[in-house]
């Protein structure tokens, strides 16, 4: 585990220097890094639509109408960008804000380091005492504000148990598959009932034959 931590530590020391605040006389080389990607987006929009080839081409009722809107956007965007860049350089208020932010974050970091040093190095027993003293707070923090528990109760358990007990065992295996197999059973049962007619007794066959013949004859005579 040490190696990843070392790499992260090196990064945390070095990475900040890609953007040194103006208040310290530096320049932020990463701030505008993505601008080239975003500015032309507005300008390219019609061209991208055009790339669809025949699809868009046949539709050229539309583009002339959209054209003014996009050019307007193009004009707006660089203007806004210039404005922001200009503000960053000269405005004394901006410098003050930067210095304040730097100060506050440094103080907070030092406080954190100091607190950690106190609890872990100087007085390990103080941590336990504090935990006892503020037991509810300690428990809340220890359980990460119970976010995991909340998720478990609200989502994980209902979804899992509902899927298991209701969807799978009742709906799928019971209702849907039950209907499928039920159809099979129905056919088998009714065939089983019909089977009883096939007694194999010649006399019964002869009797039903003559009854049937009489019925057919009767039907034609009565008609």
């Amino acid at each position: 585990m040490a190696l990843p931590l070392v790499l992260l530590a090196v990064g945390s020391v070095v990475a900040g220097y890609v953007g040194v605040p103006h208040a310290l006389g530096g320049s932020n080389s990463i701030e505008t890094f993505l601008h080239p990607s975003f500015h032309p987006a507005a300008a390219h929009a019609p061209a991208v639509a055009g790339d669809h080839g025949p699809a868009a081409a046949s539709e050229h009722g539309g583009p002339p109408e959209t054209a003014p809107a996009t050019t307007a956007a193009q004009h707006d965007a660089p203007a806004a960008g210039d404005h922001a860049a200009a503000g960053g350089h000269d405005d004394p208020d901006k410098a003050r804000v930067e210095l304040t932010l730097m100060g506050v974050s440094t103080v907070l970091a030092l406080l954190g380091i100091g607190l950690a040093a106190f609890f872990f190095l100087q007085r390990p027993e103080a941590a336990d005492a504090a935990a006892r003293h503020f037991a509810p707070v300690h428990r809340l923090l220890l359980h990460k504000y119970y976010v995991d528990e909340a998720y478990d109760a609200a989502l994980v358990h209902p979804l899992r148990d509902g899927s298991n007990r209701v969807l799978w065992k009742v709906v799928d295996a019971g209702l849907i598959d039950g209907a499928v197999n039920g159809t099979g059973h129905l056919v088998r049962e009714s065939a089983g009932a019909l089977r009883l007619l096939q007694t194999g007794s010649v006399r019964v066959y002869a009797a039903s034959l003559s009854v049937g013949a009489l019925l057919v004859l009767g039907y034609y005579l009565a008609r």
Partner: protein, 549 residues
Amino acid sequence: MSFPLLSTVVFAPLLGALLLLAIPNRQNARDGLVRGLALGISLLVFVLTLLVWRAFDGRSADFQLVERVAWIPAFGIEYHVGVDGISLWLIVLTGFLTPLALLSSWIGIEKKVKEFSFFVLALQAGMLGVFVSLDLFLFYIFWDAMLIPMYFLIGIWGYDQRIYAAIKFILYTMAGSVLMLIAIIGLAVLHAQATGQYSFNLLRLYELSIEPRTQLWFFLAFALAFAIKVPLFPFHTWLPDAHVQAPTAGSVILAGVLLKMGTYGLIRFAFPLFPDAALQVAPFLGTLAVIGIVYGALVAMVQPDMKKLVAYSSVSHMGFIVLGICAANVQGMQGAVYQMLNHGVSTGGLFLIVGMLSDRRHTRQIAEYGGLKHVMPKLVAAFLILTLSSIAMPGLNGFVGEFLTLMGAYRWRPVLAAVAATGVILSAVYMLWMFQRVNYGALTNPKNKQLPDLSPREWAAIGPTLVMAVVMGVVPNLFLAPMAPAVDRLVQRLHAQRPALARTAAHDVVGAGRVRRAGKVTAGQVRPLRVEVRPLRVEPSRAALSLEP
């Protein structure tokens, strides 16, 4: 057309299968020979399917490599085969998966090796036949013939409840097919009434104009057969049984290719033959698809058996494909076809992995495993790639297909797309959870301590799916470009202006229909949405323009 390439592709596996039967194999003395020969034949067929790809002109939407011979002239039945951008990749997929399926059964199948290899190759011939048929009668023959080898594969080489699963599979599928057969005959009769002669020629039947009521009934008959095959919720319960009971090779082919016949049928037959009815029923089918996506994922999540889990995940994934088809726009259709290939690769691969575990431990219960990465890191690495492919990780194949289908679905019905998108999250839940329970953690079960890692043969079976998962994720255009013209034409056909009888139905059903008709735009390129949106955005500038003069 000089050389009948497609017929060669279709009948080569069948000839190979017959050749296998001729080998005397008393007391399994020549199992090795039989296995090697079957593998060789399937590899040859794969090469042939690649030749189809080479010969295929990806810029054309027409059927190519067409062979057409009168067969039963009295009823206008022909031997008529051809390939277009939609069927092309399914043919290649069939060629690709069959050797892998045979490799996967090298150890797992010990009894009746010759018969087993025969049925696998016969099944392949049937599947290829379904994908190339352009005559409905021929299609139906292949469609039903295909059931027979699968029935035996499950019934003879399956697990404990194999007979139950095999009978359920064949009865369920045939029940659907019979209605389709009636509709097919009905179509031929309609053709006879319109033109004076029977025809089962798909391309001619496309041109029939059928009155809405008949269309609806015929569409429902076709759609039911295909919905069972897909399987679409709630016609899916044969699938978990069949998958769990089938041998690995059966599962791979079942998931990889057989299920695709359902969605292929919707794309090739049900939708373009009865476009008005299809568009009318599409919201309903799409809703079932979305229910299937979420429902399949939730039920998959709680399965204790890996094979059953992957089976239910198929219900979920196939839902995406049906949703894309129902959207009936270019993105949806392309996504659907692409997702058919993806699902073949990733789910086929997952069944291979489960089969390898099952070969070693003779159990597929998740609870029996755990911590496998300590003993077989290579297998676990392959498992991980396929898992990520199945949950549509960007950079792998599943992402492209799911993205396209969801985009198509969004342009059609945003609400359905939104609900379907939860399936993406749930797929991560059930797949990663299973992966975690099987492979991570401590090696708790002592029976797992001595498991060997992937053998060269297993590498040969699983490796190609891994490669394809990456290739299809990184260069999707290689696959999408040849299918584009055919998909465009299909979508145009679905939304084509049809005289009088269609008008009202289409108007009710397709939300964007109004705009399309008003603007006289042919609907091929999913333009309705753009047409709808633009006026809203440019209203002010148009007003400004009108003020100027």
